[in-house]
Subunit: 333 residues, 2 copies
């Protein structure tokens, strides 16, 4: 964990050069991060000791860890440092919300090259802090090391506030499938960026700076959601995890997920492929008993049917297996 | 976090080739890890969902994250896969113990190249599980991604069991400084490995597979320790963090830390440099009120004096500033 330190950090130019991480040093960096990352009310001991101490009033803690790797999850020529901070925090905090928990804190393990400008790190910290604030959490600690490119491993922590966690394994035949947040926007944004486009902002931003609806997670838990997951690998892949864990089949209605905004702006991209297999939106998809009165932000997109959701074959679209690849496997591509 | 899956994993040779990570795939790997990593009693929801859920009976949770990077923290030609698992778990769990907490769980973010043999991953998992068992914890979840070399980011979680956390900031003039566990053994082992030696085992093993005295952490908290840290950067550097955080001076007695075992077996290494500046032992060093009756495994090695422990100048050896480098800075070397 980060040792203690508080320093004044000069992020501008001195003697004609931009100050970089190598000149700042590990302990300078930690002092800087601690001044850029305000601790929230759940953080009882923050940056500056062997470990953080966070409130866990429920008596259980929700904990998840995720990589965010340069060249794989972001490109520094597309994303600002603040974008990377937002995206890195969102990736873990959405997992916390997908358990039905309220995010409380984040641990940030940051590996970076010595020539990384300190101003970039300041932007990263600002993005992390801002996305944490969206979720009601804050950065409580972390670690730093040297690497040839930027790599983050982000741990998200959360509190269940007395509710049962919403697992992937509770979906039952007859449940409805509903989603809170956009589908396919991050993938459409990636396609646009790859083609050299700079808009529309809604799609580009969805890729660079996804904004998960964190409070929809605990809301779903209170509404009696039977299963929930965040859409990180792609809708079909992620619903496939629910189908397999719950031993059910999940049916998606294509008419309910098609999005005219994507169709209008991504003429070269197959809209349905984008919506069904594009990951990284970090929207929340959940199953609910059919009688639940869902708030407006939860859009029904399918239903749960009896059957056996064996890996990769548990989800159908309009009654038929989907022909293409369902989503992402880090080692096979 | 790791999605669900259970698979039979063939780690041997098929068709003349060793099975590697690329052939196993991400979901095969996760299924394999979940079968190799038994969940302990603190894990309420383990590998296989968006996040883990762990017991936090104290109502607070201790949380820390640390990198373990190939070429920086280990070499695959020196360390077995199991060694790497032990060392990676120890690095975070020692931080948890250094807060005075009882380790409960570990999250493992693992990035690796596709040609990594699955048998190596099995060894890694065995080492992680065994070191967790030494501490009373277990692996509760993680993430996987592709990278050109092996990199782990390990999050350790723990419970304070009703005690106050032992911070770096509580040392008071008049306190004694005591250590539980060896000093300099990991650094001596590194010097021996670098010189091509294969023994003595106590020193080589200290580098490849440090064995922190986890239960000494909560023991120190119960004894009234005023400050504590684990020796990861080097004794002087880590005591320097206590001196700075507590705004005191720390005095180390060289006669109390010299170790004839290191002297005997490392003729080419300066014994005192090894003991004072060698990191990675993950022993626990703490300050105690002078009247405390310390158990035998806590060896007194110094005392706390009034003064201002400004960064890098808060620790003296036999009354004098130490002439060499005190420890490790990841970005400056």
């Amino acid at each position: 964990m980060m040792p203690h330190g508080t320093v004044e950090v000069q992020t501008g130019c001195v003697g004609g050069g931009v100050i970089n991480l190598g000149e700042l040093g590990e302990f300078g960096l930690i002092g800087a991060l601690s001044s850029w990352l305000p601790a929230g009310p759940s953080v009882l001991t923050g940056i500056g000791d062997d470990a953080a101490v966070l409130a866990a009033p429920d008596g259980r803690v929700v904990a998840t860890t995720d990589f965010v790797i340069e060249g794989r999850h972001f490109r520094r020529d597309w994303s600002s440092a603040s974008d990377v901070g937002h995206k890195a925090a969102a990736r873990s905090l959405a997992d916390v919300a997908a358990m039905g928990a309220v995010p409380t804190g984040l641990l940030v393990a940051l590996a970076a090259p010595p020539d990384l400008p300190v101003a970039w790190l300041h932007g990263l910290a600002d993005g992390l802090a801002a996305e944490c604030a969206r979720a009601g959490a804050s950065v409580a600690g972390g670690d730093t090391s040297r690497l040839s490119s930027v790599l983050l491993a982000i741990t998200g922590l959360g509190d269940l506030a007395g509710l049962d966690p919403v697992l992937r394994s509770g979906a039952r035949p007859g449940d409805v499938v509903a989603v809170a947040g956009p589908l396919g926007y991050a993938a459409a944004g990636l396609a646009l960026l790859t083609a050299g486009a700079t808009g529309p902002a809604e799609l580009i931003q969805a890729q660079l700076r996804p904004a998960p609806p964190y409070d929809a997670g605990p809301e779903a838990a209170r509404l009696g959601a039977t299963a929930m997951i965040d859409v990180s690998d792609g809708l079909l892949a992620d619903l496939g995890h629910i189908a397999a864990a719950s031993d059910v089949l999940v049916e998606v209605f294509s008419a309910a997920v098609k999005d005219p905004f994507i169709r209008t702006h991504c003429a070269d991209t197959d809209e349905l492929t984008c919506v069904l297999t594009g990951g990284e939106d970090h929207s929340l998809v959940a199953t609910f008993p059919p009688a639940v009165d869902l708030p407006a932000r939860w859009k029904v997109i399918g239903s749960v049917r009896p059957g056996h959701g064996v890996a990769g074959h548990g989800v159908t679209v309009d009654g038929k297996p989907y022909a293409g690849d369902a989503g992402w496997d880090h080692f096979r591509r």
